[in-house]
Symmetry: D2
């Protein structure tokens, strides 16, 4: 399957390891004519970057992006856009010890089983740094979507046991606190919780929600390429995500049809829905309402308290992971979730253009049936 390519129309291919020369992505299928500069991409990379607060790893990486191809006179040309971020702070020494054993909660064992050996430095390809390519490509997709009136917004709704109160939801708060919570009181409580976890050399997880507004009805396809199916794959492909919901998600399983069904109505001459339990997607196809997703992020597996595990030969060992690790990766995962959602939406927008013969005929300038 050659796992590093995502998307059919707006297709991205990421590459790179935690401690290799760099990380990058090739975007193939971006339409010509989109104004694009490195600053458009850097903006999102800076939100993903380490060192933003005490709750993110202190690894020193500027994560500066270089556009290597696909842009001419400030516009995308329709040909592949290659983006490169050089790794700077390798510090391979920190990781040499972990070559000999399997870290609990990490991909080490599976990689060895699959490939016979692994680049153990910082997790190699399984490192969270792999998401740099996703965020960079997602920034391009998001710029394209915005030009079509579609907006993707993600934020933290819980950290460990601390959840936001939606009645206090304030979008402006999101980038105002280090946890990207749209509720400053919850953000305070969550920070307090995280400080406790850090004092115990432990870590935390959380839940990220993502809203997509401005999506026209009709995106997605029947059967396997349902819009929510692709969103589920996109979100679950992010390393630490263990669950995905659309609309009411698991709560819908305990509901009744009479409640869960969203009645259609007419508002301002447009068909819309009175409620949105479906999360904007019915039968895999967007229904014109806000798309609403949630992803469950597990606690950072790299904790500094002692852990039991085995060596490559199966001998029991007790380990203590060194190095600089995020006590919680949720806030840094927020731009990754936005990127993945944007990539899926872009693909669905393009797919939809060939759904109807009359649309194709109009596109090519045929107005009467021949």
């Amino acid at each position: 399957m050659a796992g590093s390519t995502f998307g059919t129309y707006f297709k991205i291919t990421t590459w790179g390891e935690s401690h290799g020369a760099g990380i990058g992505v090739v975007i193939d299928g971006c339409p010509a004519g989109l104004p694009l500069a490195e600053s458009d991409i850097q903006k999102d990379l800076d939100r993903r970057r380490p060192g933003q607060s005490r709750f993110t790893t202190q690894r020193a990486e500027g994560d500066q992006v270089e556009i290597l191809s696909g842009i001419f006179e400030g516009l995308t040309t329709g040909t592949p856009i290659s983006l490169l971020v050089r790794n700077q702070d390798h510090r391979s020494a920190d990781y040499s010890e972990i070559s000999s054993y399997y870290r609990p909660g990490h991909a080490d064992f599976g990689y060895d089983a699959k490939y016979g050996f692994r680049d153990y430095r910082g997790g190699g390809r399984s490192s969270g740094r792999e998401t740099i390519g996703r965020v960079a490509a997602g920034a391009v997709a998001r710029k394209l979507l915005v030009s079509l009136g579609i907006r993707v917004l993600a934020y933290t709704v819980s950290i460990g046991p601390v959840s936001i109160d939606f009645s206090r939801f304030e979008e402006a708060q999101i980038e105002q606190n280090p946890l990207r919570m749209p509720d400053s009181a919850a953000a305070e409580a969550a920070q307090e919780f995280l400080r406790e976890q850090m004092a115990k050399c432990d870590s935390a997880g959380g839940i990220i929600e993502c809203r997509i507004d401005g999506v026209p009805a009709g995106l997605g396809a029947p059967a396997f390429e349902k819009l929510d199916a692709n969103l589920a794959k996109a979100l679950m492909s992010v390393g630490a995500v263990k669950g995905v919901e659309i609309g009411d998600g698991f709560a819908a399983a305990a509901s009744s049809g009479s409640i869960n069904n969203d009645p259609f109505r007419l508002t301002d001459g447009k068909i819309s829905k009175e409620t949105n339990h479906s999360g904007g997607i019915l039968g895999g196809i967007s229904d014109g309402s806000r798309i609403l997703l949630r992803a469950a992020v597990k606690p950072t597996p790299s904790i500094s308290s002692p852990q039991k595990t085995v060596s490559k030969n199966g001998e029991p060992v007790e380990i203590q992971i060194k190095g600089r690790h995020d006590p919680v990766i949720v806030p840094r995962a927020v731009p990754v979730i936005e990127a993945m959602a944007a990539l899926v939406l872009t693909d669905a927008l393009f797919e939809n253009m060939t759904s109807r013969l009359d649309g194709i005929r109009k596109f090519y300038g045929f107005n009467t049936v021949q």
Copy 2:
């Protein structure tokens, strides 16, 4: 994206509508030499078929499968296997009314937005009958997996508010009650709940769990083709599924690293794990433990109590859906979830064969480095 194809190696393409001539699937990439008869497939189709109990639609369909190609002298030949199930009980009359309005909770509106019009008879392509092709193909995949020691088992863990008690888990129970619950007491309670919902002309949802045993470590791929990402897509592509979890899923978001990390250990000379919060997949690659998934199924949207909605022109109408509908689709979705999981596993097994040069060299009979 042409949504009706799934898989890369063991690739299936489904087709058919609720009230067309039939439903079918083409399987391309099934290896040669697998013994296969129609009875192998019929067995699973019978578990998905309508009319199994009072909790499933009474539509009269035998759902008899015919193998049209790909088998010679009882064995798969390696060429496409085409499977056909003719529709019998069309009764299009029941559905003629629904052509004029949009049923809440159904794909009607999105299909019209996408395609300009729709085959409104029984939901057309968005009907649950589309899953016949999935179950048929899944039966082939499951037979192949079993021959390699891999077993996929799904069952109902909750219906509306009624959940099973895992301390009473009895596999033999699953096919003994109409809800496919592995706990007879819970099955009784859930049936009672369903009778109440039916009396109220309402419907219910539930949660399906799926265990996959015997999976070798190393299946899946880094980045986008993570094994859990593909499982999430597979499950979310089933019409009524609104949420997907792997391992502890959303509960992991509230856990701590010290608890959620599964320590590795040596048992019987084999590296395994003490716990399995990860659900058998770490970093997108199987870790050799049981794979554990859950899918949230929404309540059947077709309820016979009156509902508000709009006509195609946006005029408010009150409707009452007639016809024969499942008050809960969870038990019939159980074999569909098994099928989808089996398809993903088969693909991952095939993908993994080219991961290592030494494996390839061994396969082609080269034993020394040249």
Copy 3:
């Protein structure tokens, strides 16, 4: 690779063997709103059918197509179109002998090497009957293309040593003679040649040319998805094709840049070219001129004169192939070439719709930059 799927947007999956229950194809990605009836498809199947003249096999097959899905009230719905042709004249007995040896010029040996055994009846999946699915899908693609002003026309330009004289080219002739040659004199000479070959229990090959008119400039993509690259694959994927040319083809290799370059000019306010050595494609992208392709078809390998070969165990045997075989397959391959060209063009038309941001914005109704 699972070889039976072709196309990315207008995606077809064929299935079926020479002596199985039938042959078919699933078309996924056909836009909604195309009027389509079985007669649209039957027309082309009849041109591919056996028994049309003394130069085609006398196997008695009506090759009647049945549409199983994807059509509602006479229009395509945008969902998969499944087409079925039942095999009638199996006569498996004719083929039982060939199970034990490898026919020269046939795929028998390769299939055994690949799959361990083979459906030897009539060549199984490697039979020319596999092209029924292609022609059926191609008929749909051609109808769609015609509605957009694009026309695909193929014909025979040579049979063995007999070539047409382009100064006598008459399109109306093509369906007037059994060899599909647009030059009646050449057709006469070729028939005479074929009668001689048949008398010698021998067979012949030939060359098919294909013109595609009405193609807008800009179809195709840089690098690997060049329009001519996909056409080459499409044509070479037809069993007996051993060579493919675009424009001047091999003759271009002996030409000079000053001659081979086609000067651009303005005609009727439109940029066109004075000559068309390129065959309508430059750098993999259509240049608005007629696309011109040629495919070399090898002589039918099934000849009734005695041949040397080996048995499955490698023992030398002399064989004499029985059964009903075309002395030349070129005329029946003409609609297959048309089908394959039409499939590639349809895909390229769809691909091109997302090439430019301004086109996408226009499609979705955004007219001003935001």
Copy 4:
């Protein structure tokens, strides 16, 4: 279609323009454990590089490759291999003039039609420099193939009217003359011909042949993924290629079945063929004989003699192309053809591993039927 990705298993994605920051390729799906250094790749890049003789452009490019990812301790890790070649000799000034008109024989017009504008510097993405990524990826594929006993060798068989004499074929000659002809006398004559063309400010084309030895029988797939179909696409996707043949190619069209059929025989206990008119592929599947391909390369379109064409607005102009151009690109295309053939073969080798259940069972260590 997003045209810059090639291959399904061993998947490559190229990027870069003639006068952008650089050119590169990402290889995804290379198995773990292949020893790989930059020198393995540089070797082939040096054969493609400009400035090798008076018959290649004098553009000064070192084309030094940097491996950015996918290698650890000298071995491939199974994760994406990113390769980068920085452009050095941009000299954009040379090209500024060509922005205003359409060069005959080039992709300029099609790119404008497709994308609305183009990076006109040196042809942008349509430049021959795009093949750097192909050759780099091909070098990795070739190293892998060699370790499995498969060898790809290409060479020039004609330049303009000058063809080699196969009775004088000498492999060692290929890299001894600037035209990569395996016949020194023909190479001399061809150089003389080229000098004449250059004196006339004209250019030449030619034919490249490619032999692939050591291919096991059974590679390729029925229907659309025939091995020769993929080879045809691969070769035709190289910018200047206008025709592709396998085995006897177009000559087969004029042959008879009795001659064109290759009799099977037993040699050294192995089934082989007495002749090889088929070029090593029957029914799309390798037959164990040498695979033999030919590609027709058109004359370089950039010639310095005056040419007629039109401006972007359609006004007639007479142009004279400046800059440094190859009078013939055939010798530099030889390593590109080798690369493309190697990529297809690698993919086919991987595809074939899942053809038979017994092979899969053996791979995973199951030896008895369950």
